[in-house]
C-alpha cells in the first residue's frame, strides 16, 4: 500500500482496503463503498469541487467524483477538506491545488434553464496551469445525473485519451421467491446502478440479456409459453418480438457488431450448438455440430470471430472459431472451468467465470503480449457473468452475498471494485450497454 500522498478521503479508502474482504463490503451497505485492492498509487489525483449555483436535487460533482473513483484511474479528495471552492476559471488559484498535490481540477456551476438546468464545467491541468475543457450542457431536471455522467466521460477521455463509459447502462435480471413462485424481471439501470426500471416482468425465467450495438434493443431468453425462446425488445418503446421457438434450448443470444445477425445456442439438433441467424431474412446457419454443450457465443469487435463455451473436451472451456464457420480451437487452458466469455473492445482481453472446486471467480486473460497472462478480478466464491464496459476499462459481474445476488464493477486491472447499489431481490446477469450517442 504505497500511498505517499494521503488525504483524509484516501485514508478512509485505505482503511477499507486494509479491512478488505467481500464481507467488509457487505457490512457497510450505505453510501459509496470502494474496495481498493493492492493500492491505487497510480490513480490520478483530481479535485472535483462541488458545483456552484443551483443544480436542483442532484449533486453533480458528487456523481462525477463517484464515477471517476469507481474507474480506478482517478482519486478525489473529500470535498469537505477543500480549502477553496471555485466554480469557474476566474476563481481558480493554481498554487492552492498544486499544494494539495492535485494534477487536475474540475469546477462547474448550474443555472436554472426552463424546466431544467444549464450546467457549465471547466477542467484544468494544475501543473500546466491550463484549461483543458470548458463546456456547457442543457438538460431537464430529471436528466441531471445523465449530465454528470457525460461530464465524467468528457473528463475521462480528455485526460486518458480513452472514451469514458459512465454515461451507459446496465441490463440485468432480478428474481424473488422460490421454485414455481419465483418472479423475474429484466431491468435496465444507469451504469452506477441508479434509475433502475423494469423492461420485462415475468412469472417464467428470464435470462441472458444482450444489447444491440446501437443500445436500443435487448435480446434475451424468456420461458413464457412453457419453453425457452429468444426475444428482441426495443428498450424505449417496449415493443418486442419472439425470434426463436425451437424445440429444446433457445439460449445465449448475442448481436453481431453490425447488428444484422444474432448468434445463439440451440439444442434442436439434440444438444446445444452454436447458430447464427440473419435478423433480416431469419435464415439460420449452424456453426457447430458435435456432441457436447456449445453455448454463450460472443463476437469479436470486427465480427470475424466467435468465442463460446464448450465442454467438448470434458469440462467447459472457451473456444474460438470463424464466424463464417470452420473448426474451433480452444482458447483457455488455465482453470478447470471457464465459461461466460466477454471480450474487451480491442479483443486483447478475455474475461471468464473461472471455476476451481467450489470457488468461481472472474478471471481475465490478457493476450496483448505473446503468451496469455491471467489475473483474478474478483475474490469469489460464486462470481459469474462478467461483462466488459464498452471502453474496456471496467467490467461488471454478479456475485453472491448471503442468499441474494449482487452486482459489482471492477476496473480491468482488478484494483478497484465497487458494489452497485440496487434495490432488493436477487440480482444477476449484468450486461453493460454500448456507448450512448447524444
Amino acid at each position: 500500500m504505497s500511498a505517499s500522498r494521503r488525504r483524509p478521503a484516501r485514508l478512509a479508502l485505505l482503511l477499507c482496503a486494509l479491512a478488505f474482504s467481500p464481507l467488509a463490503a457487505l457490512a457497510q451497505s450505505k453510501g459509496l463503498e470502494i474496495d481498493i485492492v493492492g493500492g491505487n498509487a497510480s490513480a490520478l489525483p483530481i479535485a472535483v469541487v462541488p458545483f456552484g449555483g443551483d443544480c436542483g436535487q442532484t449533486d453533480v460533482a458528487g456523481v462525477v467524483r463517484a464515477d471517476l473513483s469507481r474507474s480506478g484511474q482517478f482519486r478525489s479528495p473529500d470535498p469537505a477538506t477543500l480549502p477553496e471552492r471555485p466554480t469557474q476559471g476566474s476563481e481558480v488559484a493554481y498554487p492552492t491545488w498544486r499544494m494539495l498535490k492535485q494534477d487536475f481540477l474540475l469546477v462547474g456551476r448550474c443555472v436554472p434553464n426552463g424546466d431544467g438546468y444549464r450546467t457549465e464545467y471547466e477542467l484544468f491541468d494544475v501543473a500546466k496551469q491550463q484549461r483543458l475543457l470548458g463546456l456547457a450542457l442543457i438538460a431537464p431536471a430529471a436528466a441531471m445525473r445523465d449530465v454528470a455522467h457525460q461530464i465524467s466521460d468528457a473528463v475521462y477521455e480528455k485526460i486518458l485519451g480513452v472514451p469514458g463509459a459512465f454515461w451507459t447502462r446496465i441490463a440485468y435480471v432480478t428474481s424473488s421467491g422460490l421454485g414455481r413462485n419465483t418472479r423475474y424481471a429484466l431491468m435496465v439501470a444507469d451504469a452506477d446502478g441508479y434509475n433502475p426500471r423494469a423492461v420485462v416482468n415475468s412469472t417464467e425465467p428470464l435470462l441472458s440479456p444482450a444489447w444491440s450495438p446501437d443500445g436500443r434493443k435487448l435480446a434475451y431468453v424468456s420461458f413464457e409459453g412453457g419453453n425457452s425462446g429468444i426475444w428482441i425488445q426495443d428498450v424505449a418503446t417496449g415493443s418486442r418480438e419472439r425470434i426463436t421457438r425451437f424445440r429444446g434450448i433457445n439460449g445465449a443470444p448475442s448481436f453481431s457488431p453490425d447488428g444484422t445477425r444474432l448468434a445463439m445456442s440451440l439444442s434442436k439438433g439434440g444438444n446445444p450448438d452454436i447458430y447464427v441467424m440473419d435478423l433480416v431474412s431469419r435464415h439460420l446457419t449452424q456453426l457447430t455440430n458435435q456432441y457436447g454443450i456449445d453455448t454463450e457465443p460472443v463476437w469479436s469487435a470486427d465480427g470475424s470471430t466467435l468465442y463460446f463455451t464448450s465442454d467438448r473436451g470434458g469440462r467447459p472451456q472457451i473456444y474460438q472459431m470463424p464466424a463464417s464457420g470452420g473448426s474451433a480451437s480452444r482458447v483457455t487452458f488455465e482453470g478447470s472451468y471457464n465459461a461466460s466469455p466477454t471480450l474487451s473492445p480491442d479483443g486483447k482481453k478475455l474475461a471468464t467465470a473461472q471455476g476451481a472446486g467450489n470457488v468461481y471467480r472472474i478471471a481475465l486473460m490478457d493476450r496483448s503480449t505473446g503468451s496469455p497472462r491471467w489475473s483474478m478480478l474478483s475474490p469469489g466464491s460464486l462470481d459469474e457473468s462478467p461483462s466488459f464496459a464498452p471502453n474496456g476499462a471496467m467490467l461488471v459481474y454478479a456475485a453472491r452475498e448471503g442468499s441474494r445476488g449482487v452486482l459489482y464493477t471492477v476496473s480491468a486491472d482488478g484494483r478497484v471494485r465497487q458494489r452497485l447499489e440496487l434495490a432488493g431481490g436477487d440480482v444477476r446477469e449484468p450486461a453493460w450497454s454500448p456507448l450512448r450517442k447524444r
Binding site: 428474481s175 422460490l178 472451468y337 459469474e384 457473468s385
Partner: protein, 177 residues
C-alpha cells in the same frame, strides 16, 4: 454414494426399492411376486421390472408410493442416472405403457454453480437421461417432453452441497394423466 442425496429422498428411495421388491410399487395394482433371477449372462443390464398383472390408473399418481415420487437427483456435473432411482423410472415407465394418452414433462435443473447458459445444457442432459431411461423401459418418445430450466428454478437457495444436491434434479410433471 448417497452422500449428496437429500435425506428424505433417500428414505423414500429405500422405501420404494423395498416395496418394489416385496410387494410391488402399488397396493392397488396386483403384481406377481418379484422374480429376481440373477442375470445369467453376466451382462450389466438394468434390473428387469417385475411383471404386473394390473394396470395403473390416474388415481395411482396420488396414492402409489412409487408413482408419487416425481424427482430424480443427480451428482455434481453428472447426467448419469443413479441406480437408486431405477425403481422410480420403472414404475413411471409402466404408467406410460399402461396409459398411452399420458404425457410426461421432464424438467431438468442444475445447481447454481457456474454459468447459467451452460447449466441450461446440463439440465437438458439430465432430462434427456431420464427420458432415455423411461424409453428403455417402454415409455414412448411421443409421451415425453424434456425442458431445461438450468439453475433458474432452485428449490433451495443456500450455498452448500446439501442445498445444491436438492437442486440438481429432474422433475417429472404429468401434463396429461
Amino acid at each position: 454414494m448417497a452422500v449428496s442425496i437429500p435425506h428424505i429422498a433417500r428414505v423414500l428411495t429405500v422405501a420404494a426399492l423395498a416395496s418394489a421388491v416385496a410387494v410391488g410399487c402399488s397396493k392397488k395394482v396386483k403384481e406377481t411376486p418379484p422374480v429376481q433371477t440373477p442375470v445369467d449372462t453376466g451382462a450389466t443390464t438394468a434390473p428387469v421390472e417385475p411383471p404386473r398383472s394390473g394396470v395403473y390408473t390416474p388415481a395411482d399418481l396420488d396414492t402409489d408410493a412409487c408413482l408419487r415420487q416425481r424427482v430424480v437427483y443427480f451428482d455434481l456435473d453428472k447426467d448419469a442416472l443413479k441406480p437408486e432411482f431405477q425403481a422410480i423410472i420403472n414404475c413411471h415407465a409402466k404408467y406410460l405403457r399402461d396409459r398411452p394418452s399420458a404425457r410426461l414433462r421432464l424438467e431438468g435443473n442444475a445447481d447454481e454453480r457456474g454459468s447459467r447458459e451452460y447449466n441450461m445444457g446440463l439440465g437438458e442432459r439430465r432430462g434427456n437421461a431420464v427420458s432415455a431411461a423411461l424409453q428403455a423401459n417402454g415409455g414412448s418418445p411421443t409421451q415425453l417432453t424434456v425442458i431445461s430450466y438450468g439453475e433458474e428454478r432452485p428449490v433451495c437457495t443456500e450455498h452448500n452441497e446439501d442445498c445444491w444436491s436438492k437442486n440438481r434434479r429432474v422433475e417429472l410433471i404429468y401434463t396429461d394423466k
